[in-house]
Symmetry: C2
């Protein structure tokens, strides 16, 4: 790789993460806790500013998370708010709270009013009441009103994501006038790349992209150049939908309307990106039967981590009882006591059933999340999955048939193994593919039947698994439940039990002579 | 929900997807194949344009995918290219190819040169050679050069994602001059929201956001207002990294540099969003042991679908052989032939081990994908997981102990079930918690031991599972393999076998008297 020619900066050698990033060809300056400590201790304002000029704020914030509040306050007093605004937002919630506690009212007022409203709302939302009220007191009247308004929206809705710092102009305005308005009011706006246009009735009618404004004739009216084919959502819309809309329509910003079609807020792409990440993390957690968390891994305490795991394992354990029950009953059937070797294949059969179903469930969960189809398409999807299920089942069945022969002929599984003195009706103990130096027909015959038995069971199990794996997530989505929530855990149990029943039924058919 | 008051538009009643969207508070106009067919058949140019004014192009494209090439060509001839450019890009690859085949050279030239270079590159890259060469012929000289240059980069790298339609200006330029340059050259640029700044040596030195230009004094130099704390990547950088950078640094556009630090291309947020989606879909596919695909579900034929599934199930089946082997051997041990009830718990134990490990693996895969930590942090992570593993193991162990008692006392599992005539040394056949009307001590004793056996096995199995579940993905990442690729399949096998061995060992310790 060409990057290796470049020799890494001293800090980068120190911090390991950088190194890997460097290898992967990403070029970004970093800082370290030590460097920050040093410039602050030396009250070296220039040095501090140069760090902010060189290094993206989020990287500074990451290094700064372990600074003392007093040290942090030095930063906020000496760096201009255009930087500290992002810097504060990039700190961890915990550090933010320590800081708010330690700051003087004067510093706090400066800090809070330099922040974007929606960022402050997120922070305040997670703060203990006493700190939250400190922040609210610090915010100026108008901002406080906005914060309180936004705090009302339920987490996970468009309302909770949106900001009130946007630019809305009336359509009759000329491009020239619009640019003037943007220059005046744009500084506090979260984005000026999308301008929102309203009519005389204050209803939202469309958007104008900043670049269109720039290319347009100064005398044009916004009405003439705006895009009227725009998407908008309600404040109650689920954030997952918001992510899908940004993805589908390649938006920079999305209008949030109330019931009278008036603009109440705007969601920007950076927040939408976070939501997409959050939503797919959630699905992945669900897929591995775990409670999702919004915290980054290293902020998650081992205890919290455990609490996310335990309920699901317990639930699955209880569900698993059905498997125990069925196996417990079947075990006592003559067929299994006579041919205990059949038991040895049970885990393999169950795993395969689970795997085949899991693939389909995973595919369904993802496609539903990306709105590639909706529960209403169930017939279409089911028919597709049925056909591919047959292909997969046929392939796996024939493969396992031959694999089973190999397993037995090579002695990987010992056909004869029955345990001492279990007095089985067929004594295959220590039986082997060769009797003396000639082919052992009895063995060959048994091995063949076993292989056939597994093959047929596989075919049925895989087909059923794929269909169940299709129905569970779509069913969940149809009743407006998170497809990832129910499908995965249910699948295992359903398939374990189904596979066992199929296995038993087929075994009875294949070995009628040992069935009693 | 307030939306329910609104009555849906006629088309929306027709198409089911809309309805659900409407419920969720998303407000967007739609069209349908029928509507398009009608306006085209009637050669109703106005009607067609009004659709494009009302409806986002991607929704039109979705409806238009089933139109005849001749009908599509009518659209391209009558709608201005500012719309048809996006419209073409939103069509499915298959439709694009049918169209390119059917178009006259004249139409094709107009279409291709209205396209963004990186979009054309994606399309051409997947086209059969004869069509690809048609497209290249249609492109003007400069564009053809760009396309050929971009086609060189390996799929999945920054180079393959980037566009060459960007604005790069020299830092000594004044804001006024810059705005002039943007007005002149900005129309063909993919984005003008981020302007890329170079020095006299043509090296990339920073970026200027369009809004900063607008707020700046016309006489300022770009050097003075530009952000110099910018991230950039190499053309060889993996697209997963690109997604992470956009997420981390909230970028609108990212600079791609060559070894001489010169700008060779730019990646825009919309492409980055697609990459993030693609990458997390890939991880999810891996997590459900399936080959990832880039195609949306409904474009994936059942056959292709099956091909994504089969290899993995087969691989897992072969891996599963170890489980069969071990169980096959253990089955013959006196302990299991004497107490066949123990076999009934095997699937539950295996599932729990798999689930506990799966949770951790899922968490690791996701955290690694989001760069929440790197393989170098393995000690830290392992120590965290070890502690939470102990908590989980303790909880599950004690829970399963009591659950096992319940299972047995209620007769959910029948302790006595041994099958007729297996001549076990302990005959618990039909044994029950009550002997006549008094407590059956022998039963109680056995049930208790069984519960204890399961509890202890659970504790060991869960602890091991969590540690294995941590090590597999981090190990994979450390050797630069996709953590999701190896961890999931290996985990099941490793845990199945490990759990069995633990179970057997503990059983021997608990039932020495039945161990031979």
């Amino acid at each position: 790789m060409p990057e290796e020619e470049k020799e890494p900066l001293p800090e980068e050698e120190a911090e390991l993460e950088e190194e890997t990033k460097d290898e992967s060809g990403i070029d970004v300056e970093k800082t370290s806790l030590e460097e920050l400590r040093e410039v602050i201790a030396k009250k070296d304002r220039q040095g501090l500013l140069s760090i902010f000029e060189r290094v993206p704020t989020i990287d500074i914030a990451e290094a700064a998370d372990d600074l003392e509040p007093t040290e942090l306050i030095y930063i906020f007093r000496n760096v201009e708010s255009s930087w500290t605004a992002d810097f504060f937002d990039d700190l961890t919630q915990d550090t933010k709270e320590r800081l708010v506690q330690a700051m003087t009212d004067k510093d706090l007022v400066k800090l809070i009013n330099s922040q974007a409203t929606d960022d402050i709302v997120d922070t305040v939302g997670d703060m203990p009441a006493n700190l939250a009220s400190r922040v609210l007191k610090a915010a100026d009247k108008e901002m406080r009103a906005d914060i309180n308004a936004l705090l009302k929206y339920k987490d996970g809705t468009a309302g909770a994501l949106m900001t009130t710092d946007y630019i809305e102009l009336i359509g009759s305005l000329s491009v020239e006038a619009a640019m003037k308005a943007i220059r005046e009011r744009g500084k506090d706006a979260e984005t000026i790349y999308t301008i929102f246009v309203r009519n005389r009735q204050r209803e939202f009618v469309g958007t104008v992209d900043l670049d269109d404004l720039i290319f347009a004739d100064p005398q044009d009216k916004l009405d003439d150049i705006m895009n009227s084919d725009v998407v908008s959502v309600q404040a109650t819309t689920d954030q997952e939908e918001v992510g899908q809309i940004f993805r589908r329509y390649d938006l920079n910003a999305l209008a949030v309307l109330n019931d009278d079609d008036r603009l109440v807020g705007v969601i920007t792409i950076d927040d939408a990106v976070d939501v997409m990440t959050e939503e797919s993390s959630e699905d992945m957690a669900r897929m591995s039967n775990m409670e999702p968390t919004e915290k980054p891994y290293l902020e998650l305490s081992p205890w919290e981590n455990a609490m996310k795991c335990i309920p699901w394992i317990m639930a699955l354990l209880v569900l698993g009882t059905f498997t125990t029950m069925v196996l417990n009953r079947l075990e006592s059937k003559a067929i299994f006591t006579n041919l205990p070797i059949l038991i040895a294949f049970v885990p393999m059969l169950m795993d395969t059933g689970g795997n085949a179903g899991g693939q389909t469930t995973g595919l369904m969960i993802r496609s539903l999340a990306l709105k590639e189809f909706s529960p209403k398409d169930i017939h279409r999807v089911l028919w597709r999955e049925f056909r591919s299920a047959l292909v997969v089942a046929a392939a796996i069945a024939s493969f396992s048939f031959f694999w089973l022969l190999i397993e037995q002929y090579t002695g990987i599984v010992e056909l004869g193994v029955l345990g001492e003195g279990t007095g089985s009706r067929v004594d295959l103990s220590g039986m082997n593919i060769w009797k003396g130096n000639c082919w052992n027909w009895e063995f060959g015959y048994h091995a063949l039947i076993n292989a056939g038995l597994i093959g047929v069971t596989m075919f049925a199990a895989v087909t059923v698994a794929k269909l169940v794996g299709t129905l569970l997530p779509i069913g969940a989505a149809a009743i407006k439940k998170d497809p990832a929530l129910l499908s995965q855990p249910l699948l295992t149990t359903v398939m374990d039990v189904t596979t066992l029943m199929i296995y038993w039924a087929v075994a009875m058919a294949f070995f009628p002579q040992f069935a009693s």
